[in-house]
């Protein structure tokens, strides 16, 4: 089976400063894949390049076997590539229900949208009582739930999740990761960028480690969990007994 997403020698710059220096990787359909790295390593830049909101310098990005370099960001959504950005990217000036509606903006099958909103509410029951509330009035965790529920409305095949646990309370983080697993079980491949390396490696199947714009390590998450250099750099072995 050919991979869902293939990236070859991807280079991206902000102005004259090159941030990604030639990344190559492959994501298989059906998996949760995590992308680890410290601040400023280029994780968010990589997601933005994949979703098309950043122009790339060179390299190839193939989604389902065809190049998407020339496909504008909004059209990538209708191809099944959805990016849930850091800071959640919900529209605070719109109601929860309206946010969910907009999640389905790229879809043609308008009649199925209401049914999918119902399904979204079953998956994310926390939103049920908040439908008419402005999204900006939700708590951080609820906003993250809304961001994921909205992303699923687009029927993604690949979901890019940027720091979904950022700034959330511990119980909420746990709940967010439960939802990530649930979305994955429904057949959505997930590329997860996470600061919380321990949990990310636990729920993912494969992992990449990005450092100052280069992929320095990759492998099955299980292997990386036991890798001593990873433990040192990201799992805080020195602090934990």
């Amino acid at each position: 089976m050919s991979p869902l997403l293939e990236i070859e020698n991807l280079k991206v710059s902000y102005g004259t400063i090159e941030v990604l220096h030639g990344i190559s990787c492959c994501l298989d359909a059906g998996d949760i894949i995590c992308l680890l790295g410290s601040n400023g390593a280029g994780k968010t830049t990589m997601l933005k390049a994949i979703s098309g909101i950043l122009k790339i310098d060179s390299g190839a990005i193939r989604f389902k076997g065809t190049s998407i370099i020339d496909v504008a960001a909004p059209q990538r959504v209708s191809k099944g590539l959805v990016h849930c950005p850091e800071g959640r990217g919900i529209f605070p000036n719109l109601s929860v229900w309206e946010n969910l509606q907009l999640g389905a903006y790229s879809r043609k099958d308008k009649h199925a949208i209401q049914r999918d909103i119902q399904r979204g509410l079953e998956w994310f029951p926390i939103l049920e009582d908040r439908l008419s509330q402005l999204a900006g009035t939700l708590s951080g965790g609820e906003q993250q739930m809304l961001a994921m529920a909205r992303a699923v409305m687009a029927h993604p095949q690949l979901l890019l999740l940027d720091e979904p646990s950022l700034g959330l309370a511990p119980q909420m983080i746990e709940s967010v990761f439960e939802k990530i697993k649930l979305i994955n079980r429904e057949g959505v491949t997930i590329l997860l960028v996470e600061q919380n390396a321990q949990v990310a490696l636990e729920i993912s199947k494969f992992a990449y480690v990005l450092e100052t714009g280069n992929l320095i390590l990759q492998g099955p998450s299980e292997t990386l969990l036991n890798d001593s250099s990873i433990k040192k750099a990201y799992l805080g072995e020195a602090i934990l007994p």
Binding site: Q75, V77, S78, P85, G89, F91, N93, L94, G103, Y105
Partner: protein, 300 residues
């Protein structure tokens, strides 16, 4: 008292015309962060298009309701086409640059349109033929409501209800509001900013043209600079209501219209045009975000 009521009613009619124009300012500001200074001139071109529509069916000889509708449709279609052209060729290439470039360009487009129209139709004002015979529609004591007022209220209220419905209840309106929050986040749900901005210009320009026709029904003449003062007053109305807010634009415009009518009635009509500038200065001094302007604190 009756004079007061009459002045308020006339002022509200004037205000509802300003509201149609102010909505264009506020919508474009919403999606693009731009004060489109060419907006008044789009109205002017709409009024000229209306004049052509009148001539095309010799409506001035025998006014009919269908003819009136025809004038509105021609003016609105012409202006929305113009709005789309302006957006496509003047503003879109500059969208990624500084906002100041856009602002200066809009002033340039405004001057261009005014001067083009002077070349085409001359600088002297033209009489806009009466397309509606003025009649008293309704009268209580000395307060008279003419059919001009009725048409003005009817057209503006219907258009505002349609706009409200589009913005609040349709996927298009949700996309507009999403873009006004963030172009990038809107792209991530699959909204193409280009399309939505184009449609916003279409709608705003069509509303301006409708306002232009309502103006010439009440004050029957057209000239190439007619959009200048109307545009300016509507802009002040939008600022008064809180630029970016649709409800604010309507409230601001009605306030402006009624104040202007009262000043002209009780004081002197010489000062009616000064009102806009006084209001602008006061708003900027006292509450720069306007009546309905939302100064939202960021949640971290």
């Amino acid at each position: 008292m009756q004079e007061f009521i009459q002045l308020v009613i006339n002022g509200a009619a004037l205000g509802s015309i300003y509201a149609l124009i102010a909505l264009g300012y506020t919508m474009v500001y919403g999606v693009l962060g731009l004060i489109n200074f060419a907006h008044g001139d789009v109205l002017m071109v709409g009024a000229y298009a209306g004049l052509l529509a009148v001539w095309s069916i010799h409506l001035n000889a025998h006014p009919t309701l269908l003819g009136l509708l025809w004038v509105f449709v021609v003016a609105m279609v012409a202006s929305s086409l113009l709005g789309v052209l302006i957006e496509r060729f003047a503003y879109r290439p500059l969208r990624n640059g500084s906002k100041l470039n856009l602002l200066i360009t809009s002033v340039g487009v405004s001057l261009l349109l005014e001067n083009l129209c002077q070349i085409l139709w001359g600088a002297t004002p033209r009489v806009f033929p009466s397309i509606l015979n003025q009649e008293i529609f309704f009268k209580v004591d000395h307060v008279a409501i003419t059919n001009y007022l009725v048409v003005t209220f009817l057209v503006s209220v219907v258009l505002m209800i349609i706009l409200e419905w589009i913005v609040l209840k349709t996927q298009l309106g949700r996309a507009m509001r999403a873009i006004s929050y963030s172009h990038e986040m809107a792209m991530l749900v699959g909204i193409s900013a280009d399309n939505i901005i184009m449609i916003t210009f279409m709608i705003g320009s069509a509303l301006a043209a409708a306002a232009g026709i309502l103006v010439v029904i009440n004050y029957p003449q057209v000239d190439p600079t007619m959009g200048l003062l109307l545009g300016l007053k509507a802009f002040v109305a939008a600022v008064l209501g809180g630029i970016g807010s649709i409800r604010g634009a309507v409230v601001g415009a009605l306030t402006m219209g009624i104040l202007e009518s009262l000043i002209a009635g009780y004081f002197s009509s010489t000062y009616r045009d000064a009102l806009a500038f006084i209001v602008l200065i006061l708003v900027l001094m006292i509450k720069p975000s306007g009546l309905f302007g939302h100064h939202q604190p960021e949640k971290v």
